[in-house]
Subunit: 500 residues, 2 copies
């Protein structure tokens, strides 16, 4: 069916949507929500149909901005529209639902159909749920990685390219902010791209953005890395492994991530990384709860790395409390800067040295002591100021130049004793009530950590908030929740075990 | 945030969608595709946000027709819009994903959040996939049924209300078209509501519509049943167990139906059924492939029925070939009418008598022989003509009044022998290429069934099509597919086993 394209100045958030007249929909035999394939010359997209009886006339097709862009339509041009045929990849998803392993060709087809927007979000949600429940075999991880790599552009940086990745789940984890300049100061190339937070108080990009702009084009990132042999930028503009981003868009709302292994490793591969350290925080409230789980995951990362030609070492680290004292973009940026200046909290320094040390050992350029030295002698700080400058920030920034949020409330202990446990989940929820990740200055500063003595009435933590109403809300949440358990002794040694 | 409502004459296919200006979206902290709650006085809906930079101005909210209707807005009225809070039912879905059984309260909450459109399609797809993989316990089936019943309106019909349901999957199964008038002619009340086909060549509503209108209001259905103590109508207008319809909307595209038990039984309960016969066709290409599976399902239906106060008997029936000879709305209506006039195919008559007999036995009003008698003596036919008249059709219609499609092509056997197998899937696919379920006169007529002798060059089946192009397409599909296996003897006895 031929329909005249018209533009609708509306955005759907990445979905391809088109609106056609009721009668044309009946003619095509599609109902609202079903898919059609729309063609403009050699371009085509699978798009969702919405219908209209008056607003859109017979013979017309109104395109959402994303659809118009993908089809490169001009107003009035004629589109060829036809119902979507049954997809073979739906049968492959069903195969996985039924508990059978997918072949290379089947995994490939699924990724291509995701990329071409042929599989809809329902089908992708079923795929993700099935992989979460059935598990992904190492073979499947490899097949998915391969396809994600072949459908991505590749980056080429000079020198020995290394990288690190955290499986995540611990608030206040500003390790990358310190580790990247420390490792880069030893001459390794570390082009670190990271994400913004969606549900946690801060992502590495949110923290770095307090010190320097993080949104750069691929060309600009190349220049920064050439100058500093490192960067700390937002990865979104790079469009690496685009298939993965399309899966993540559905994984996030479901809070499932069965594609973790191919997702992480394909992104490292296309960025040219040869050596990668994976941080697996383990704790009662992180994604990985037991050492057995952590070791299994570590072995999977190492095996997949081997098949993709990447050397991987994993660090299983303590994730039972926040790293350092600060939670929230600005508070964490300040703490990271202090750590680079030689006065960081013991656990953060230990974590940076442990993971950085793994990377140095892999390329035989030192170990965790080398990292400690570059932090103490100012090498890492110098490198960070070089990166800040190259990314367009103020290279001379001092920790005290970073402002605090206007509203400040202390949460006090109602008994004396030793801090036995801290609830990460509860702190994340309080911090987000206070405004993170959106309000950069908001967050939490911990005065007490596991193993510290505390007296009744002494402050456990301070909540910072840019807005009065949010400050009030976060504080009342803090008083309702059991955030601290006052009990017994812990320690500050971060590394539980290295698996290689 | 207060926004002025404007109407967008567009339909999304049942989703609540609203379009707001980019800046307002940023102010609310939501991105396109995320949810907000929009309130108009005491009415509120959770709706999906799309954004626009120019088309929708700051301070405005454009509503899709479904959203405008649900909120009962008038142009220019002011809506209160706020971001959606985290849903506790998401945690319950996660619990099921992780393999744990849901409690009554958790199952309840999920259904309510589905009904209030708080759970989005991704979340519902994850729920459905998880229940398909993990299985639904009888307790969970009961909890879901209970909630589906309590959120539905109830129907009250006079007399002893009985019903039947087929788990489906066999083409040409016009059993209900014959069984309903046969059972009703014995004085039982049988208000049969059914669906239209989505992917099969015909649903009961599609078949019945050839003889009489099937779309009736609840009031009109009540009048029809009062007059005839039976009906054969489309269930869509009744809005029974609306929660179930919302789940089915996601189950269909995924081709999964883990909610089968609560879905079927809650609909029977709200229609006031006291005795229900469940037909479980078993065959290599039906949903249920082994006798063990079929017996397990039968026992689940019986147990769930007991808890809901419904007597259930199940019939496991042969589903290895189409029922009777005709496939497609008009061809099947003709065959059903012939059967009611005492000249039906043996297997169809046997199936009607077996299942109808179960119902009569349950209420001690006879058995399968009673059904055979009412078919032979014209009691069932008389009742059918009464129903056709009450629903607004021509009570005097004869089989030969139902026209054949214009284009007709015979598919011939390329060898001699005995028909050993027939592929239901292949016939469905050929029939749908010929135009079913949309083109009512299209379909297939089988000249040979399992156990029949066939000579080389003799016609196996005839393809009917309303359109020349579709006729050609169906015929070439038929020649490519292995539809008939010419091998050994079978029989026409339909009932494999009764489970009660």
């Amino acid at each position: 069916m031929k329909l005249r394209a018209r533009h609708l100045d509306m955005e759907s958030g990445g979905k391809y949507i088109a609106v056609i007249n009721d009668e044309d929909a009946a003619g095509l035999g599609v109902s609202p929500l079903e898919r059609v394939i729309a063609r403009n010359g050699r371009r085509h997209v699978t798009c969702i149909i919405n219908t209209s009886s008056k607003f859109v006339r017979k013979g017309e097709i109104f395109l959402y901005s994303e659809t118009a862009e993908a089809l490169d339509t001009r107003k009035g041009c004629i589109l060829e529209v036809e119902p979507r045929e049954e997809l073979v990849s739906k049968a492959y998803i069903r195969k996985k639902i039924d508990g059978r392993e997918l072949s290379e060709e089947e995994s490939r087809k699924i990724i291509y159909d995701v990329m071409e927007r042929k599989l809809n979000d329902l089908e992708i949600a079923a795929l993700i749920t099935a992989f979460h429940i059935r598990g992904m075999t190492l073979e499947e991880s490899y097949y998915f990685s391969k396809t994600m790599i072949e459908t991505s552009k590749k980056l080429h940086f000079p020198g020995t390219v290394v990288d690190k990745h955290s499986v995540g789940g611990v608030p206040g984890d500003k390790t990358s902010m310190v580790l990247v300049p420390a490792v880069a100061s030893m001459g390794l190339t570390m082009p670190k791209t990271s994400s913004r937070s969606i549900t946690s108080p801060a992502g590495t990009s949110d923290r770095m953005e307090v010190l320097a702009p993080v949104e750069h084009s691929a060309d600009s990132i190349r220049r920064i890395v050439k100058k500093c042999n490192a960067c700390l930028v937002w990865g979104g503009a790079m469009d690496l492994a685009p298939a993965d981003d399309l899966l993540i868009r559905v994984e996030h709302p479901l809070a499932l991530d069965p594609f973790l292994l191919p997702s992480v490793m394909s992104k490292k591969k296309v960025a040219g990384s040869k050596y990668v350290a994976i941080d697996i925080p383990r704790g009662p409230e992180t994604k990985i709860k037991t050492n057995e789980e952590a070791e299994r995951l570590a072995k999977d990362f190492i095996s997949l790395g081997k098949r993709l030609g990447i050397s991987v070492d994993c660090a299983i680290t303590r994730g039972d409390q926040p790293i350092g004292h600060a939670i929230g973009p600005a508070l964490e940026a300040r703490e990271a800067l202090e750590t680079l200046m030689g006065r960081g909290p013991e656990d953060l320094v230990n974590k940076v040295a442990s993971i950085g040390g793994l990377l140095l050992q892999m390329v035989r350029k030192g170990n965790h002591r080398t990292i400690m030295e570059t932090l103490e002698c100012g090498g890492a700080e110098k490198k960070m100021r070089q990166i800040i400058k190259a990314q367009g920030g103020n290279a001379d920034i001092m920790p005290e130049d970073i402002p605090y949020a206007r509203y400040k409330r202390e949460v006090k202990s109602d008994k004396s004793g030793i801090v036995g446990s801290i609830s990460n989940k509860s702190l994340v929820s309080i911090s987000n009530s206070a405004g993170t990740p959106k309000d950069k200055l908001s967050g939490i500063f911990l005065h007490k950590k596991i193993g510290d003595s505390v007296r009744k009435g002494e402050a456990l933590f301070t909540i910072y908030s840019e807005k009065k109403e949010k400050s009030r809300k976060a504080f009342s949440k803090a008083r309702l929740q059991e955030t601290y358990g006052i009990l017994s002794h812990g320690g500050s040694k971060m590394l539980i075990e290295s698996v290689r």
